[in-house]
Amino acid sequence: MGMRALLGWLLAAGLSLAASAASAHPHVWITATSELLYAEDGSITGVRHAWTFDDMFSAYAVQGLESKKKGAYTREELGPLAQTNVESLKEYAYFTFARADGKKERFQEPVDYFLDYKDTVLTLHFTLPLKDPVKPKQLVLEVFDRSFFIDFQMAKDNPVGLVGAPSGCQMKLDRPSDGTATAQKLNEQTFMDGPNANFGMMFANKITVDCP
């Protein structure tokens, strides 16, 4: 057995194992719109999300639910499901991460949550109030799943709204590029970071709001 052949095999074995670690990919797709809510004094009080699930997951989620009309679900009929959803989301910090002038901000439990079902897809609406309203020069809001089980995409049209923001505030949205490009670009960095705990960060949707 030549050394070269051995090296070849070892390389193959290593690659297979690396590939085995790469088995995950999103199983749920969410198209999101997010609104930043402002108080009259110009401080930010919270975030209002509307997350539309893909049709495969939507079908899964409504499986077996009772509805008066077949194939249609009212907000009331979906009430218990919405509640379970927001309760479950707590563990994942609602996939919503805010920083005000670089300082991490925390959210309270969601309010005003409900699901609606339209054109065979579910949309989860909920509002996340900030623990303490903030009035930063710059607010950064990121929406993503670090485990990349859920693929978050901001909606094509009007992805981000600033509700009642003071005049002069500028919003910028950085979308993740598609998985291929991002994964390739961040390849080296990921390996250097060791256990790529923040893999999903590459897929983050980053909303930056600068106010005068």
């Binding site: 052949a5 194992l17 085995s20 790469a22 088995s23 199983h27 797709w29 390849n187």
Partner: protein, 372 residues
């Protein structure tokens, strides 16, 4: 001098490979602890790891998966779309590779720990993938189709099976560790080198004697442990594998060493890996059911399983080959070679245990919130 050097280099490389193996597997296991899905859908198989080719695979996988729902819808009105669905499912299965849990890693570790042949590796891969597909079909068939259960109920059923499967992996790993640990310790005790053969690894004849001696030695151990390998002799010669296994060796091939008890062990591996259904498959099945095309979902799931089996089998073959090479190289060495191999087997057994325990605890941590 040169053979010595080679041998040392080889051992160094193998040690590196072993470390790499442990790290990547442990990494996958650890990640699973954190990977849960809040919406009650099936949980992900493992964590993603980006890379050039891997990133591309990842994207491809998602692409195929996303095409499935549209294709199932299309199949409602256009029967020919079913063929597209089957093709997509098959491709998805291949790309999805690991399928649920750490099937691949567990199978590979098991094969290495048990000195299995590539052929058996392939058989195990296909059997476990088929079982995975069938479990998914059964879960959705019984709970959603027959009982019209909600996603919450299905998820709970899935969760229970998941716990059971992780516990099985842990138990399976524990047993392997027990057995292989014993063999390793005995190898340590008898590791005094046999000087006569040392240092001339390129002499095939001696090589071969040496190898034989070692294999017989192993067999002795197995007898001690009584893993149902007492009937080894009956199986002498029924196998074919000389060429693909030990090259010029006339010693018993691992398939023979495995014996009938080996198949029983193999079944344990199939059950351990196959009992946890494929995450994606459950979603596809429920979706197909909602479209009134449950049968198309079943066909898609089976094709997905076939695709997964091919990938897992390929990895199993690589794992077995890598180990065979290690074995050949270490056989060319003095008494330390056997010890080295027992060490690798012991490490592989440990990995299976590590997986089981890691997955089990990961699951428990997530149990409260995973399901609707």
């Amino acid at each position: 001098m040169i053979p010595r050097l080679h041998s040392r280099l080889a051992h160094g490389l193998l040690a590196c490979a072993a470390v790499l193996l442990v790290l990547s597997l442990a990494d996958a296991a650890l990640h699973d602890l954190f990977a849960q899905n809040p919406f009650g859908g099936p949980r992900p198989a493992a964590e993603p790891e980006a890379g050039g080719i891997i990133g591309w695979l990842l994207a491809k996988q998602s692409e195929f998966y996303r095409q499935m729902s549209a294709t199932i819808r299309a199949a409602k009105s256009d029967g020919s779309a079913v063929w597209t669905l089957l093709a997509i499912s098959f491709a998805y299965g291949i790309f999805h590779a690991a399928g649920p849990g750490h099937g691949k890693a567990v199978i590979a570790s098991y094969l290495v720990a048990n000195r299995e042949t590539a052929r058996r590796g392939i058989a195990l891969s296909f059997a476990s993938a088929l079982m995975q597909a069938l479990v998914a079909i059964l879960i959705v068939g019984i709970s959603a189709w027959a009982l019209n259960a909600t996603a919450k109920t299905m998820c709970k059923a899935e969760g229970t099976i998941e716990i059971a499967s992780y516990a099985l992996i842990a138990a399976f790993g524990l047993r392997l560790v027990w057995v292989k640990g014993g063999a390793f310790i005995r190898a340590l005790q008898t590791a005094q080198p046999v000087p006569a053969i040392a240092g001339v690894p390129h002499n095939h004849d001696r090589d071969h004697h040496h190898h034989d001696a070692r294999v017989h030695h192993d067999r002795g151990h197995d007898h001690h442990h009584g893993h149902g390998q007492a009937h080894v002799h009956q199986h002498h010669g029924h196998d074919h594998v000389h060429d693909e296994h030990c090259g010029h060796s006339h010693g018993p091939a691992p398939s023979e060493l495995a014996g009938p008890g080996g198949w029983r062990r193999g079944f344990a591996a199939i059950l351990t890996v196959g009992i946890r259904p494929c995450s994606g498959a459950i979603l596809v099945l429920v979706f197909a059911l909602a479209q009134g095309l449950f049968w198309a979902g079943i066909a898609a799931t089976l094709l997905m399983g076939l695709g997964t089996a091919i990938t897992v089998a390929a990895i199993a073959v690589v794992a077995v080959s890598a180990k065979d090479i290690a074995q050949r190289l270490s056989a060319a060495r003095d008494g330390g070679g056997a010890l080295f191999m027992r060490g690798i087997e012991f490490a592989a057994a440990g990995l299976v245990l590590l997986f089981g325990v890691g997955l089990l605890f990961g699951y428990i941590a997530a149990e409260r919130t995973t399901c609707f």
